[in-house]
Subunit: 243 residues, 8 copies
């Protein structure tokens, strides 16, 4: 190899780097992902004030249910659950009776707990989908640690909660600056599904959306009712004639 | 009639008054209403900052179009239109080539202008639907004057505009405290229509909604498409089976 | 009776009126109330944009479920349900297979429909709890008509929906000015229940809250876990020693 | 008395009534007021989501401290405090070791509890200052009951909390429509104090503001520092020369 | 007069009352109004947090300048101005070297100060335009007292300030419930002016608006520039051809 | 080549890199751009809740109309359009009867569809302007894929819609982190036009703005009216004399 | 130079690069900066809807006044000023009678105009401070072009305006991603001043702040008044004794 | 070392760099951090308008108290404290009687002051935790300078304040683009603590949270009360049986 080649390589690298993306596109794969349920505990739930409490409750259960829908491994962990933070809701633990649930007794950052690290590694997956309470502490510390370890991380921004909108936005921006993909619940579902015709397929996904993302559920319900029993009403005929 | 009867009447009246409503229900009638287009001028439009400017533009044109849809008399007026306030948009004046357009040369409150008062009276209507710029000046002053004259007034809160949300809310509250009915565009349409089967009927109203209230237009379009060509997709069947 | 007595009565009445409340306190009674499910249709649901769509969905189902929880009569009605508005969600109609469901074919205001009026009257109740889509049309027109007929009306502000927050606030204020009581879901529950020890009692109400008002459900879950398995952690002892 | 006099009286009364105020001005009196601490319990605190949780915590403690500052009687009550609602914070109960604390075992509306009613009546006061959790249930039900009983009521809008801003605003409007005075913490302080020179006087009020209303505390601190050690800096001289 | 006439009158009065307005329309008159500058002090200014501080500063100076524009009497007052509240800004006191400036030494409510009451009465006016800091204390207490004394009151909602938006809205609603007219700066100007052709006339009002309400000033400036030097650009011709 | 040159190159490269921009400036070119209309379907439209529904409707039609205005190639695609997502609105398909419309039967990410990829490649353009529903799924997945393929991408942030503002902001930030240019409708128009004197020129652009960006349309209309018929009013002369 | 040194340099460079900042700190220098007044025209002003119009007016004049305060060169430019965009306000052009004012006849991006480019280059400055209307078009296009040309750019986020907050935020983020420094008015003043004791010094800066940033002006005025005439009031003494 | 090795290193470095994070994860260490209290002065406090003033006051005191809680060195500085900016609150200076307090007489950027630089260097720490008023000037200038000097910087976004939310967000984004870690108060506490069982431990941290982060304090208090005296209420048993 010659020096000129090296020089070329170097400037070529720069050239391509200059146009490279800071956080490049990466797809979630059903085969290479693991779902983390991180400190979504009944006591800590009261600290999640950046969402309406009813809405946030829906979102954290929906996050947990992603593992069942796509049949991907799940790892659960809690922080000091005999204390004020409380246990995970039974509706979540009931979903995964065989998944590991690591009860941390003091470590804030789950990655500091050897049992937890081992549970993650045991899945053999490199794509981690995570939500936790609070966003700025539990989610951010773990997501940043995972990035430092070389994992790809998808933070479900709708299922992590914290005390204020400012803190939420700041914590999310901090994770993004460290290469974390910030994603919605619906985008995780669609990214894992990829095609409405592939397993688990629309027949499984639509009922799931109906429960946790009802804006789509009602759209489908309205459509189905129209196909089965709907009649064109006066005025409507004009709207659809050109379609 | 005896005094005791009177006393009874009086206290009965009081009793019923005590439970009477401050601003009682009154229905809009196609036969007894007049539409006012008040200072919706192209210059003054720039002062309407309490709505997105594109949205507000839609709303003020939609307000103007109510006269055509329901075939009710229209009165237009402008304030100093050769000056910065500018004329009404051509799209509005083109709708009503035969309606009175009173060009006020100085009066802020349209009711101070004799020609305008006469135009209102000439319609013989007692229910006035109004929108103007600005809400706190043009709309409020006229609406309050009309109330003082015994008219029933419906203020279209979506088609009056002013500089800030605080001023909008304050002006609306002031009008309501004087007995003005604060209403949306959609509620005016539905109140005047009363029944989808009566004239002008759905065949006229739905295309109007499609243009000015597209959330309903697209709902109808989606429904029509489903009836004509839609197919039940997997998963959707579960949702509709119980309906 | 003497005139002076009358005069006294009159001015006394005025005096007491001057300090009377515009919308006086009235309690909901399990024995005298009826629940209205008004046009909460799967198509119209898409027009309810003043709430997060997931949150609003929870609220409208929770509203419907009040009839079951308190065993009060329910009346359902829909507007042109074969058209774009769509049917009621099956989850709602399944709750009340024996309750009247009046399918209006054109009347916007449910009170214009004789069958509906008869259904309300047949319940023999004078306190009406209502939620509908849209707030400014379906809910407001009916609530105002009911007030004019002498009914007491409780509008569930969380379970009616409309296109914008401004329209919601305006419609609610209009109802209040006509004597409608504007209430939250939680206040309806607590007003009907009155005492945690009376039927249906906490044993029925808490699971209901857990499903539809999870901020209380999780509070109870955290408390129960603490009583059963909780341990005082260091630092916490200081907080509770004075309690 | 003649009929014409009566007629005159009646129409005069109407005339004056027409300009009378719906909720007339009434001043708080240190001698005639009682402070209610209503269900400000450590569990229910988690339902107060319409304020930042740190800010709301300050406000509820500040509300409680009003009794000490102005030496007015205090009545405390809790709802099912052995359950999820929890006890009052020790910092509050420590303030008033001798004040009545009525532990309701089931009644939602404190006025339904005979012991509570008796405690209020025992104070002999007619002006009630109240804050509770939640605004729409505990505060509203009691405030409305008190109005119906003829009490004057001041609802501290900063120290009652509930789940959403919409519910807060709706509950406050409902109370106002029933004649409740909606007031801020600062306005309660200033209304009770009336004059900075009267007891308890500025020397007591300013330290209280410094703790609970620090925007004033820091203003005073900055002013004091300026008087003691401040120096006019260049540029500043121009600003103050005309004052 | 017969009893039946009286009965008629009474029920007629009721009938008309039932449709009477709670806060009826009243016009501001240049001849019968007085402008109050209430505690708009440089220290208290720091408590006005419900507006952007630059915007609020403009508004309070604009309020003060109304007296000059319309040549109406002005009364100024301050609260403990040697303390943290500070003096009025020199720009305000310079406007009215001959107007009374009552320095209250302790009274929170200006109406409690005899010298202030006398100053108001000395003007002989019955319409009071007021703005103060804070809205919930200084403005509200005085406005409510003035109402109780039979004055008509216009509260300039843009020139009173307080610590939060919630407190602002609550205080404004409280004043409205007591019959205070809640108005914007622009509506005060337009109400006092009535006609652009009457004194002080557009030639005085437009420069005032240019300074304090620049959205109108720039509209006028743009219009003037167009008249003087503007040229129709391609595309624009289409827009104006139908006007 | 010498090593010192290499060292120089390397550090020089670093130096220039250190000041290089992460997402550098790139101009849209009428000759090298293609417009994508991505899943702007009448059913999916109901999921676009981060804008007022009337405003968003305007924006999505305006996006579609860019192809006509600048005569650039258009590619349309839909997702499962016989199902709940529905077809494209007729107003859009009518604009481009000859453009490809790829009806995907299952692929969420349009780039997964070979026919779509081919349609893009067939245009031979490297600059892609895109808007879709939902922002976080349809727009983001495709935009990120296009970036990975080396395309330059302009995401029209006003014409993509999704369920919440948080999801919108997160999805936009994610696209930006991958090098997507986030742009407004107006900036796309101005970037493609470059000079008001070049084709299509102001004569075409202004009517287009008048329809879809009326804040500019009314500005032009007001200006045109002033040039044609405006008169300087008193007071206005002062404002313009120095200009 | 040895290879090992090079390797060291390279990896050292990488190491330091890995921790280098994307947009590194750069200070504004009075000697190397130029102020751009970009299309702040009286017509375009009406498009600046992301700020209160009075506040924005203050900000754009304050931006223009920075050149006078710090005696730095100013370049002005307008877009089609004989058309709807209108001229610059006279108050701005009067500030800089001798500065270049480039009237572009069609170029959207000022950098496309040779005369403008020359005017910038003629100043010999490398630090450009800019504000324009609209943020997403005029400001962004020019700022991005300047970055591409190697200039350092400070965008005054308070003095550029556009139609919506979303567009503002998006345009600002786009500029930041290209290395533009996003700054406030106050930070520009403080960065150029560096030390209150250096020219122009506090004696010039404070009166400027008093006019355009009155939150500081009133702070200084209150402080000055306290030093000159203030007295410690009871209660205040406690606050300051420890200071 | 061979050239090929170097080439490998270079391209490997590039490869790894391409996937490296822009702002990588770094943990706060009790042993290597210093706390800065930057211009949190009683006068400047009045400029912090992006938070509720009571909330912000809590946050700035809480920031100052971090030094005591974790026993880390503290450096304080003020800007022109004899002028309008005022001194630090006594509650802060009382916490650290022995810490350096550098009174800058003119330098805006604390890093321009040699005494301050020396004080930082004397601590020997490389991790700097900072909060100041204003965010865009004092905090940003210093944080950016520290970054340029190679320090790691944590900006406490809850304890810096400025005049508007826009300026806050812009300044924070600017700091993040320069590699500053934007963090909440709670995340600083948890990052420094790392494990609830390590010194200072839960016994010290929980009382601190109770004072400054009461949402957690009340959670702990409610939990403790439940453990000590709580009883399972009917309905609650169902919720916890599966946990």
């Amino acid at each position: 190899m010659k020096l000129s080649t090296l020089a070329c390589l170097v400037s070529g690298a720069f050239a391509s780097f200059a146009s490279a993306d800071a956080v490049p596109w990466e797809r979630l794969s059903q085969n290479d992902s693991v779902l983390l349920i991180l400190d979504l505990q009944v006591g800590l739930y009261q600290l999640a004030r950046d969402f309406d409490p009813t809405l946030y409750h829906n979102n954290m259960i929906a996050h947990a249910a992603l593992g069942q829908l796509f049949d991907i491994p799940v790892v659960m962990t809690t922080s000091a659950q005999q204390g004020p933070n409380g246990p995970l809701p039974g509706i979540i633990t009931d979903m995964y009776p065989d998944a590991p649930l690591i009860q941390r007794q003091g470590e804030v950052n789950a990655w500091d707990n050897a049992e937890f690290r081992e549970a993650i590694r045991a899945t053999g997956k490199k794509q981690v989908i995570v939500a936790g309470i609070t966003t700025d502490v539990c989610t951010a510390f773990l997501a940043l640690s995972l990035r430092a370890e070389g994992y790809s991380v998808w933070a479900n921004v709708e299922a992590s909660g914290t005390t204020t909108g400012l803190i939420r936005d700041t914590a999310n921006a901090r994770m993004q600056a460290a290469g974390v993909q910030l994603v919605s619940l619906f985008s995780i579902v669609c990214d894992l599904m990829r095609d409405w015709r592939s397993p688990p397929g629309a027949a499984a996904v639509i009922p799931w959306l109906d429960r946790y993302f009802p804006v789509y559920g009602e759209l489908a319900r309205g459509h189905g009712a129209a196909v089965l029993n709907g009649t064109i009403i006066p005025g409507e005929d004009v709207l659809v004639e050109g379609m």
